[in-house]
């Protein structure tokens, strides 16, 4: 009986590992690129993964490995250590937080492996290329767009991303910069929506109770702008207010679709950099020169061009 159960257990694990090894039979690729993503659970980061996989298909000589750090610094360090023993040729990393990831990224770089840092920086210059968007510029684009929309006069509600986080602060600063020179425009109410659709809705519900006259809502991301739209719709006031969001994710739940549906007036592209990261990686692997810092351009998406970005 005992021997029997041991045999059973062995055959069980064998079966499991056989399943595992199935996907591994591809021919040996020339270059292995490891991408350490900090958290695939966010829609924006999932879009980044997809963009990267799609771009990687254009280059048959590279194999792309993607790991998910589950928003956990220790897990992401372990992921990168796994990449090192897999002998990757290039590391792409989007750090969960700067400080805890700096040491391991430096270690990779010091071993002569090229490193592309994506979206969030590390506390060191030991990387090959940084690719990221500039939130101040995006906020500024939103501010200018709002000023034009309101003809220099109106009342604005601002729904913040998580207060204390850098992107939220920068999207705010940029927006104020974009509004400059329009004394007729004032922000009458601002609250922390923590990037969440649910919070956007709650904040807007409160605002609708308090203010009888609202001209525009600026939310630091699309889900919060959509939450605010839903609140206004419930109150029957969605047609008297403009809604602006940021990110412009594709897909049925994304901000671009909301613009096509005439729910959001406009959204501002915060590019993931996924496809550019792969292109840059291929350049580096072929020993071509790249810039140390690459800033991604934003794009204003409204009813005039939204269809194109779906």
């Amino acid at each position: 009986m005992k021997i029997n159960s041991i045999l059973k257990s062995i055959s069980f694990f064998l079966a499991v590992f056989l399943i595992l090894s199935c996907g591994d039979k591809e021919e040996v690729k020339k270059y292995v690129i490891g991408f350490s993503q900090c958290n695939s659970a966010e829609p924006w980061r999932e879009a980044m993964n997809k963009e990267m996989m799609k771009e990687a298909e254009n280059y048959p000589e590279i194999e792309l490995l993607i790991s998910d750090g589950n928003q956990d610094n220790s897990k992401q360090v372990a992921d990168i250590e796994n990449f090192l023993v897999r002998e990757i040729d290039l590391l792409i990393v989007s750090p969960n937080e700067a400080q805890p990831l700096t040491a391991i990224v430096e270690k990779v770089y010091n071993q002569g492996i090229a490193v592309i840092v994506l979206d969030r920086k590390i506390l060191s210059e030991k990387y090959t290329t940084f690719i990221g968007a500039d939130n101040v510029i995006i906020g500024e684009a939103a501010g200018k767009y709002a000023a034009e929309l309101l003809n220099g006069k109106g009342k604005i509600i601002e729904i913040w991303g998580l207060k204390g986080s850098t992107p939220a602060q920068e999207r705010h600063d940029g927006f104020i910069k974009g509004l400059a020179g329009n004394p007729g425009i004032e922000i009458i109410y601002e609250q922390d929506g923590a990037w969440l659709r649910r919070k956007g809705r709650e904040i807007m519900e409160n605002a609708l109770q308090r203010f009888s006259n609202i001209d525009l809502v600026y939310a630091h991301n699309d889900p919060m702008a959509m939450g605010a739209y839903l609140a206004a719709q419930n109150a029957g006031r969605e047609n008297e207010i403009y809604f602006l969001g940021i990110d412009a994710l594709p897909g049925a739940e994304g901000g671009v679709q909301a613009v096509v549906n005439n729910q959001l007036e406009a959204t501002f592209l915060y590019p993931t950099g996924g496809s550019l990261a792969i292109k840059t990686a291929v350049k580096i692997l072929n020993n071509q020169e790249t810039e140390k810092n690459i800033t991604l351009e934003t794009e204003t998406i409204d009813s005039s061009n939204a269809e194109k970005y779906l």
Partner: protein, 335 residues
């Protein structure tokens, strides 16, 4: 037949046997490097595995004591976060220096453990509830101390003393946390197997009332088990801070479940009264090796999570005598 009877008589052999099987399978199914060598067996990879499991491993050792005594401790992840936060603030903001910071962090673990135990023992409360309360309270306290922010550790002027770097150093190519994990395993194995205290822990776990009637100070022993768990969680917290150079009050979420899984895979019964430190050590390694080989293959999270669920059930099922017994009973009744 000899193997089977050996496995039958020595409970701790089974998990060791399990680790061996997993280890061999990891070798067989390891991806190969471009030069044809087995990546899994690289020295760097094996020390990575040990370093990565050392935090959960140390926590699991403490958890084993609590579970053998018939309890459960859900607060370990939060206690780790509290200790990590205190370590970072102690060394950076409060300038306590190396020794006092570590004493402070360990003290926080011991006191939360003491509260857990006292509430369970004297409050006549189930440990599930008592430690659930501590799980939220300790996390709240960590967030309060840190003002909801993580604290980075830097070196140099007015910063962490260089002695703190010892936790990130390697000796003979093996990082210090691994040595700490192994030392803790050996020390607490002796405590559980060779001392009177250890035997009492088993006694109150298998029959609390009988132990009481036999004159054991049940409450005191139970409190000690929680103090052990708290103390070791705090030790893991110090290591955690040193590894990431950051004390983060939001870290350690879900660690209690990983630790319980490791303990159970190691053959310790959630009913209490039965279990071993060596089994837990093996359980920790099984989980560590599995996530390593899955990570090396680049298996995505969805499949990893499903597989881990299956592995936990399978591992417990394969080595559980009691469970075999239940099955047999079920089938004989029907026929």
């Amino acid at each position: 037949m000899k193997l089977s009877s050996a496995l039958h008589n020595k409970d701790w052999l089974k998990p060791v046997f399990g680790v061996t099987i997993i280890f061999i399978l990891c070798i067989l199914f390891s991806p190969e490097s471009s030069k044809g060598s087995i990546i899994f067996l690289k020295f760097d990879n094996l020390t990575n595995v040990l370093r990565q499991v050392s935090e959960i491993g140390i926590i699991s050792i403490g958890m084993t004591f609590v579970i053998i005594a018939g309890g459960i401790d859900l607060s370990v992840g939060s206690v780790l976060a509290l200790s990590a936060t205190l370590t970072a603030f102690g060394i950076m903001d409060w300038q306590l220096g190396f020794t006092f910071t570590i004493i402070l962090a360990l003290f926080s673990g011991a006191s939360t453990g003491f509260i857990n135990g006292a509430v369970t023992a004297f409050g006549k409360m189930q440990s599930f509830i008592a430690t659930l309360a501590m799980m939220t309270a300790a996390r709240g306290f960590a967030l309060f101390i840190s003002d909801n922010n993580s604290r980075n550790i830097g070196f140099g002027e007015n910063a962490a003393p260089d002695s703190f770097r010892i936790f990130t150093d390697s000796f003979a190519g093996i990082p210090l946390p691994v040595f700490i994990f192994v030392a803790v395993t050996i020390a607490f194995n002796i405590l559980l197997q060779k001392t009177r205290f250890g035997r009492y822990v088993f006694a109150i776990g298998s029959n609390e009332n009988a132990s009481k009637l036999a004159g054991l100070k049940v409450n005191r022993i139970r409190i000690y088990t929680f103090v052990v768990a708290g103390l070791l969680s705090a030790l893991a917290g110090i290591i955690h801070t040193a590894q990431l150079l950051q004390g983060n009050p939001n870290d350690g979420v879900g660690f209690e479940l990983d630790a319980i899984a490791a303990v159970v895979i190691g053959g310790t019964s959630l009913m209490g009264g039965k279990g071993s430190i060596s089994g837990t050590f093996a359980g920790v390694l099984i989980i560590g090796l599995l996530s390593n080989i899955l990570g090396l293959h680049g298996i995505q999270k969805d499949f990893q999570l499903m597989l881990k669920g299956v592995i936990i059930i399978a591992a417990v099922f394969i080595q559980g005598n009691s469970m075999n017994y239940e099955w047999k009973k079920l089938f004989t009744k029907r026929s």
